[in-house]
């Protein structure tokens, strides 16, 4: 497949897509009305926001983790150079606002991104913030030559592989010099996953406490109980934050967390944890609760180990891909609280997702009987059948949402003659296990920071990426990934992204089961907390206030 072919395959906006977007936008406005309306009220100062947390985060170092468990409670401690406007639910390049950067500009035909930094900003320990901190942070993440400090785990190193160097001509200017133009760099920098770290604090210290420039500073952390943040009195934005502090209560069991919310012990739910069924129950039991339906930018996917026989056979991977009925998956596992889609977040929440009619043509989305029959035929051709079934181990995390997902997939595979046994793996072992490719099939969840192809493709599909767990590698697709990254014309880029996405699904790179919908819940006294289409980017809490 060449670039010319790719570009002619998908029309930009069909009438149906426009209609879908319009309907989606209307739904978003209608559901977000209570939240948006709160921006009209005059904010009040004071009060502690009680938030739930699903358990202790693996650490508080955002750059070393790839989980909302860390981003959500640590984000209020830090600032980015730029951030998605916390009050706008739909993130895009147009909703990016400055944080530590007052302004920015592209130079050298898109090969240099210049940030003009705020002056007078202080770290929580009183030291001044300068461009040296910006340089240190991204040299640390991209593991620049000469850096002595190292991150224990570095999940997003590839986000910044295009950065050649970072120049700091003075204390308030930082220039990202790029090997090739990358318009999406700004979007990556606006994610909750891109905080600025202090150059004078070793990364190991930031695992157990946070030292940032953010609106809240670290107060106390009692493992298994509570993480407390308090208002930063020296915050560089005058009059912010409104809250005196935030308490993240550690409650491991989801039913208990929901009960705590119902009993008003907490003000807000944990992002991504309120399912459709829980939301329906809450609507009945506490009609005054504000429930906002939005996406999470998290997909459920099957990891097929490309490096292990017989899964190195593309036909076998296609059979597995065909066997799993995606519509049934969305209905059974999520009770309808998910969207079918491909590698990019689908519409109406996502900007880059494949159109519905294209998704319908992908393996696993068609007539389930016909596709299962096709899968059986492929397996038969490969020598598997009722007398000689393919026996595999399906690994997953020992968490209810993963186990339900895996149970469904095991049943679907059984229907085409693949007998899978479930292996439940503890959370602490999960990521090292899949990174080392010590599995055959795995039921996995993938969260993507910002809704942008660069964030997704480089991290999850590019040859050699540590987070490319299946070991999928196609140099041709890699070339297209690099090409789309350089395009500044959004419509051309979208076409190329769609073609790459289709290719990834057809090659069963990481079969997507569905995209989770969140029913973010809070009590009406919580104001200015606006959920975005990605759960990873709206935890700053700078604008949040309590009406009581």
């Amino acid at each position: 497949m060449n670039t010319a072919e790719i570009r002619t395959q998908t029309p930009l906006w069909t009438r149906r897509q426009l209609l879908q977007t319009a309907v989606g936008g209307s739904v978003a406005v209608a559901t977000l009305y209570p939240v948006l309306a709160s921006t009209q009220e005059s904010p009040k100062y004071g009060g502690i926001l009680n938030a739930t947390h699903r358990g202790d985060p693996p650490s508080l170092s955002i750059h070393e983790e790839a989980t909302i468990s860390t981003v959500w409670p640590a984000m209020p401690c830090y600032n980015n150079l730029v951030l998605f406007d916390p009050l706008k639910p739909q993130e895009s390049a147009d909703t990016i606002i400055g944080e530590l950067a007052e302004s920015w500009e592209w130079q050298d035909e898109g090969r240099s991104l210049v940030f003009h930094l705020r002056r007078g900003v202080k770290w929580h320990d009183g030291k001044p913030f300068t461009s040296r901190d910006v340089q240190y942070t991204f040299d640390l993440v991209r593991e620049a030559p000469g850096m002595t400090a190292r991150l224990r785990v570095n999940p997003r190193k590839l986000w910044y592989e295009n950065v050649e160097r970072i120049d700091t001509p003075d204390a308030w200017t930082a220039i990202f010099r790029l090997q090739r133009p990358q318009p999406s760099l700004l979007v990556l920098l606006a994610s909750g996953y891109s905080p600025i770290y202090p150059a004078h604090v070793p990364p190991s210290v930031l695992r157990t406490r946070c030292v940032g420039t953010g609106p809240f500073r670290f107060k106390e952390y009692r493992r298994g109980e509570v993480l407390e943040l308090e208002r930063n009195p020296d915050y560089f934005i005058e009059g912010r934050p409104y809250l005196d502090g935030i308490r993240y209560l550690m409650i491991k069991d989801r039913a208990t967390r929901t009960a705590a919310l119902q009993a008003r012990q907490v003000d807000i739910a944990f992002p991504g944890e309120t399912t459709k069924t829980i939301a329906e129950t809450l609507r009945r039991s506490n009609p005054e609760l504000v429930i906002i339906e939005t996406s999470q930018n998290v997909n459920d996917n099957i990891l097929i180990n490309f490096t292990r026989s017989p899964f190195d056979n593309p036909e076998l991977r296609l059979a597995i891909n065909l066997a799993i009925d995606r519509k049934a998956y969305v209905q059974a596992v999520h009770q309808g609280g998910a969207l079918p889609g491909a590698a990019m977040l689908p519409r109406p929440y996502g900007v880059w997702g494949l159109p519905e009619e294209e998704v319908a043509k992908l393996p696993g989305y068609g007539d389930p009987r016909a596709q299962k029959e096709e899968a059986r035929q492929i397996l038969g051709k490969l020598g598997y059948g009722p007398r000689n079934p393919l026996r595999v181990t399906m690994s997953t995390r020992a968490i209810a949402i993963y186990v339900d997902f895996a149970s469904f997939v095991i049943d679907q595979l059984k229907q085409v003659g693949i007998e899978a046994t479930l292996e439940q793996v503890e959370t602490g072992v999960w990521h090292p296990k899949v990174t080392r490719k010590e599995y055959e099939l795995a039921a996995n969840l993938t969260g993507i920071g910002p809704d942008d192809p660069d964030a997704n493709f480089f991290e999850n599909y590019k040859c050699g990426s540590p987070r490319n767990y299946p070991g999928y590698c196609n140099p041709e697709v890699d070339a297209f990934i690099l090409e789309q990254s350089q395009l500044s014309d959004v419509s051309k880029r979208r076409q190329l992204v769609h073609a790459i996405d289709k290719r990834l699904q057809e090659e069963s790179a990481r079969p997507i089961m569905g995209w989770r919908i969140d029913y973010f819940t809070m009590w009406p006294q919580v104001k200015n907390l606006v959920p975005h289409q990605s759960i990873y980017n709206y935890g700053r809490m700078q604008e949040v206030w309590l009406a009581t």
Binding site: D253, R254, A255, T258, T275, T277, I278, E280, T281, S285, D325, K327, A328, Y329, Q331, A332, V333, Q335, A398, A400, V403, D404, A406, S407, F408, I410, D411, Q412, K414, T421, L422, E423, Q424
Partner: protein, 307 residues
């Protein structure tokens, strides 16, 4: 003719005698059963529940109306009805069929772990009690340490270490049962070894191994049966608890404990049948085994029998 009759007569006699003996045995057994029902109606009820459980486990293939692991996307959280007698769970799986197959898992784990724990514990108790002295002292202190931890806690630790699998669950539950079985058998052995017939056996030079297995062991079988029956209920309950905590039988095999687990708790308000029926199944089986165990204790205990 006479020759023929004389030839057939002796051949008839040997078959006629065992048949009469069989009939007598059957009648005696029925009488005893009737007496057991009359004297121990609760124990008999327990026995019937256990019998029902065993039959359900054996005939799961015929009794189940659906494949217990088959998901039905359009039938999720259906209330009890004609198509799904006890409703469906959040993945659209038939709860009745899962309970039927779950009986097999519960019984396998309950029986397996109880037998393993009781046999190993019994052997330890038998030798410890018979040999006495320093062997008994050291063994008992070791069993003290094991018994200091409650059954569920020890099973949890074992299960977490071994990982979720049916054989691991059996092993994890059987180990905490060892000291309990050892204690009961040891106490019986201590009194039996002082009996005159044991002394006589020793005096005529019967080897120790023969004394233990031929003369001591058969006399400890009464308490052994009572113990095993009583522990079966606990074992089923512990299996349910382990599965509830995600450490017992792994999905998608149906286990009553797992059926009550996290997802069911989440949907319980919307679909209470998700927790009611597996809960009833667990309660009934534990109740049945406990009633039967109590009745067997009364029947097999010589002191209680005299009263």
């Amino acid at each position: 003719m006479s020759d023929t009759s004389s030839l057939t007569r002796p051949s008839r006699l040997p078959t006629a005698i065992p048949q009469a003996a069989k009939e007598r045995r059957r009648r005696r057994w029925l009488r005893q059963l009737k007496r057991f029902f009359q004297r121990k109606p609760l124990g008999a009820t327990g026995g019937l529940i256990v019998l029902l459980l065993v039959l359900t486990a054996i005939g799961a293939e015929w009794l189940a109306t659906h494949d217990p692991t088959r998901t039905h996307a359009t039938q999720t959280l259906r209330p009890p009805g004609a198509a799904f007698w006890l409703g469906t769970d959040h993945l659209g799986r038939d709860i009745y069929s899962r309970i039927v197959y779950g009986a097999r898992v519960s019984l396998a784990v309950g029986l397996g772990s109880t037998l393993l724990g009781a046999i190993v514990g019994g052997m330890v108790g038998l030798w410890s009690g018979y040999l006495g002295g320093r062997t008994d002292l050291i063994t008992q202190r070791f069993l003290d340490m094991m018994q200091a931890l409650p059954l569920l806690v020890l099973a949890l630790v074992m299960s977490a270490a071994l990982g979720p699998a049916i054989h691991n669950a059996i092993l994890a539950i059987s180990i905490p049962l060892i000291p309990r079985a050892a204690r009961v058998i040891r106490s019986s052995t201590l009194s039996i070894r002082e009996m005159a017939y044991i002394e006589a056996a020793r005096a005529i030079g019967v080897p120790q191994l023969r004394i233990v297995f031929r003369h001591v062991l058969p006399n400890t079988l009464g308490p052994f049966i009572v113990l095993a029956t009583a522990q079966l209920g606990s074992a089923i309950l512990v299996e349910a608890s382990l599965s509830f905590l995600g450490l017992g039988i792994p999905e998608p095999y149906p286990s009553w404990g797992r059926m009550l687990s996290v997802s069911a708790a989440e949907y319980a308000q919307k679909a209470p049948w998700l927790v009611i029926f597996p809960g009833v199944a667990i309660s009934l089986s534990v109740f049945g085994f406990n009633l039967l165990g109590d009745a067997l204790r009364d029947v097999l205990d010589p002191k209680l029998r005299l009263q």
